[in-house]
Assembly symmetry: C2
Homo-oligomer: 471 residues x 2
């Protein structure tokens, strides 16, 4: 048996012991040496197994005392409520609320828990700039000429190489570059739907996806999603015949941070293939995993070409570059043609800069550090919310990405709370923004891709106090 | 009376003499001194009047002999035929033909008369590169952050300043930046139409506009357009009640090069305002005038905010930058919102580079030289077509821009001719590309923004021979 699989097996045994209550919160784990003897494996294998469990925040090391079952591992009871399958949208759409939150995003005096992007201090701006200087030197006519409609060949080649998670199933010819992921999603929707059609999304769902679907004259069905495992496939099955397309964030959805398990992905693709329903898979957070590795997207299991796999560097490198892409399966020709019609081509420069950055290992290096910081921040945010928010507050358990979903007492209306918090220079994204129905009014999304420091902690403390006061 | 007006008056008198036949082809004009005495004006005023007439290619200087009525001035009889108002599109759309022509565009062995962009040798690439280096140094976070949805403030400010032709009617808040003009047009169409609606365009019309309109599920009515004065307003009136929008290139249309006279613009805006029909005014060639100055767009006469004025630097500086804009009148909020939904923002860098280039007089300087070269090229192309193409060939008289529209004998099918020409490494755009009807089969569009040299001339000669042979 491979060493790699062995350590995961041991981790699984311990995980099961925690989930079944053989090991409880605060319990000390057996020592590394005793586990080694028990399973007759190397010290390193046990260390790897413990690291794996630690990475998934099921156990935590305490100085000179060994490993203990962590608080996080016990948080199952306090996951936020799963939404319901509803039909008619609420008469009052949350557009005004969204505009209000958007309007404060550039104010630097405000702690921007509402932001949908990482704090720039966490991004490798200086290295990207060096890339620009290099690319200008090398690029033919410095990008003044039209790029081919499919996008930079260098970027597409690098994307194909980088899609290791797909084990070589995609090559450069399978990708089309876009102006960020939202533009990829817009293009995909435009290609596979016509006005009046219905599209399924998760609930809660990133409001931008809701808005772009509605802007195309389409209807939306929000599919209940579990904070850990994402879209409820049984609920999806019920509405399948109505659907023209699905649009899901399978890896670390926004705002829940859920990760669709691989067996769900396989079933989803099978189901949609059978009904010939395209899946727009928004995988923009996939590289920001906290678990053992980059989760595979649904695209990996797609034989019929129905999955349109969308990605970008907006969440990991440079939102303003507007560099995104899609591997549109059997809809590729249509997507290229649409891109040609809607904008002719994308600018070359940034695509080349990203290709260069990815190719020379800098992206890999950045992602490793970035993931570590995000995970540490996630734990800090969860801890602070538990410490400062009222008892009974429910918190999501993100598997990756940088969004935390928090549910407070039903009496609280977070949209009203927003105005109070803003007076204290704190901004968050009220739950009502993430649905077309009258729900999540006592929820909020917090962005934890902010530098963790006293100001951040005190912001969460103040926010907690505001909620307590409102109750 | 102002000197400026005086020279135009004298030019007008001579122009009338030419058009009424008082002065004929080859006639020598009175000397500068005698004109000066005749009208009791300064030598400079007469020189200016002659220069104006020369710029409009009505007269031409001959070394040591003075000025003569030019051949071009007499070309009225050989203007291409005006298209007809037709209803049902021809069953065979020209998409295959368009793809075929597109597929050869990057082949450098081919003389690209079919290109829709200027030869890069005519563009200030080195200066633009210097701009990039400068902007990277100054730009906050080097453009890694999201730009505001409305676009770079610097660019919008510069555009407002640069829109001198509008005499200060627009300010920075009136513009929204886009990813080139096609993207501006797409956004405008998306904002003011719904599937099934009808949009009016010129005929012949740039195929990209036809395609983008059809991609939105809209119907097209092609309005007959005169090679000199553009859209036939009487024809437009007949279909006005059917229209959801108009999309016209009022200044130097592609492919005709026509210029809508100011009185037509005033009438058009009045007519559309009365019927509350938005005008998408594609003014991307407006700065490439051959006449006395930058023609005013319809936007200038728009009081009700129905004109959505689109522009870009794709035809004058750097197609690959994808920097465009629109002043969308009363539809501004909708356009900004759509941009946010479709792509969140445009990348800052190139917008800043263009703003910098415009602000420091480099754009002005480049345009002056560029216009002169284009005008000289236009005359060379017209002369060569007259010399090498069969007798009876009709040629457009572009008032600006860089497209020549040529109509040959009715027996000739330019789509078939294209294959023959391609074997000789010559590409042009067959007339059938520029309409949804079965017409212009004996027409072609030639791009004269190519370096004028022996290769270009010999290309036109070969093309002429191919046509002669086909007859």
């Amino acid at each position: 048996m491979k060493k790699e699989v062995l350590y995961l097996k041991i981790a699984k045994i311990i995980e099961d012991q925690i989930s079944t209550g053989i090991l409880n919160l605060g319990d000390k784990l057996p020592s590394i040496r005793s586990v080694q003897k028990l399973y007759n494996v190397s010290i390193n294998t046990v260390k790897q197994a413990f690291l794996e469990l630690e990475n998934r925040s099921l156990i935590e090391p305490r100085a000179k005392s060994g490993y203990f079952v962590s608080k996080t591992s016990q948080r199952k009871s306090s996951l936020p409520t799963v939404g319901e399958l509803k039909s008619v949208p609420y008469e009052k759409p949350p557009e005004d609320l969204i505009s209000k939150v958007f309007n404060t995003l550039t104010n630097k005096d405000i702690i921007q828990f509402s932001l949908g992007a990482a704090d720039k201090k966490m991004l490798p701006i200086a290295k990207l700039n060096k890339g620009i200087t290099k690319v200008i030197r090398d690029l033919e006519d410095c990008g003044t000429g039209y790029e081919p409609a499919q996008g930079s060949l260098n970027l597409r080649r690098t994307l194909a190489k980088w899609s290791l998670v797909l084990e070589g199933k995609l090559n450069e010819d399978d990708f089309v570059t876009t102006s960020g992921t939202m533009n990829a999603i817009f293009n995909c929707l435009f290609a596979v739907t016509k006005p009046g059609d219905t599209v399924a999304v998760e609930t809660p769902v990133y409001f931008g996806i809701l808005q772009v679907i509605k802007s195309l004259g389409l209807k939306v069905i929000e599919i209940p999603s579990h904070p850990i495992t994402g879209v409820d496939l049984e609920a999806l099955k019920k509405v399948l015949p109505k659907l023209a397309a699905c649009c899901f964030v399978t890896n670390f959805s926004n705002p829940l941070g859920s990760l669709m398990p691989e067996e769900h992905k396989i079933e989803l693709v099978k189901m949609l293939t059978h009904h010939n329903i395209p899946l727009i898979e928004d995988d923009l957070y996939g590289n920001l995993f906290f678990g053992k590795g980059r989760p595979r997207p649904c695209k990996f299991f797609d034989e019929a070409g129905i999955v349109m796999w969308c990605g970008s560097v907006s969440k990991t490198l440079a939102p303003g570059y507007r560099v995104g892409w899609v591997a549109p399966g059997k809809f590729k020709d249509k997507i290229i043609r649409q891109k040609l019609l809607h904008t002719i081509s994308t600018p070359s420069l940034y695509e080349e800069v990203i290709a260069d950055f990815m190719e020379h290992g800098r992206y890999d290096h950045h992602l490793r550090a970035f993931r570590n910081r995000l995970y540490a921040n996630c734990l800090q945010f969860q801890r602070a919310v538990e410490d400062y928010f009222p008892e009974g507050t429910k918190i999501s358990q993100p598997q990756g990405g940088f969004m935390l979903w928090v549910e407070v007492d039903q009496k609280i209306d977070t949209a009203e709370l927003y105005d109070t918090a803003l007076k204290e220079n704190i901004s968050f994204a009220p739950g009502r923004m993430f649905t077309q129905h009258n729900q999540y009014n006592n929820c909020m999304r917090l962005n934890y891709a902010l530098e963790w420091n006293e100001r951040t902690e005190s912001g969460l403390k103040t926010l907690g106090n505001i909620i307590k006061k409102a109750m």
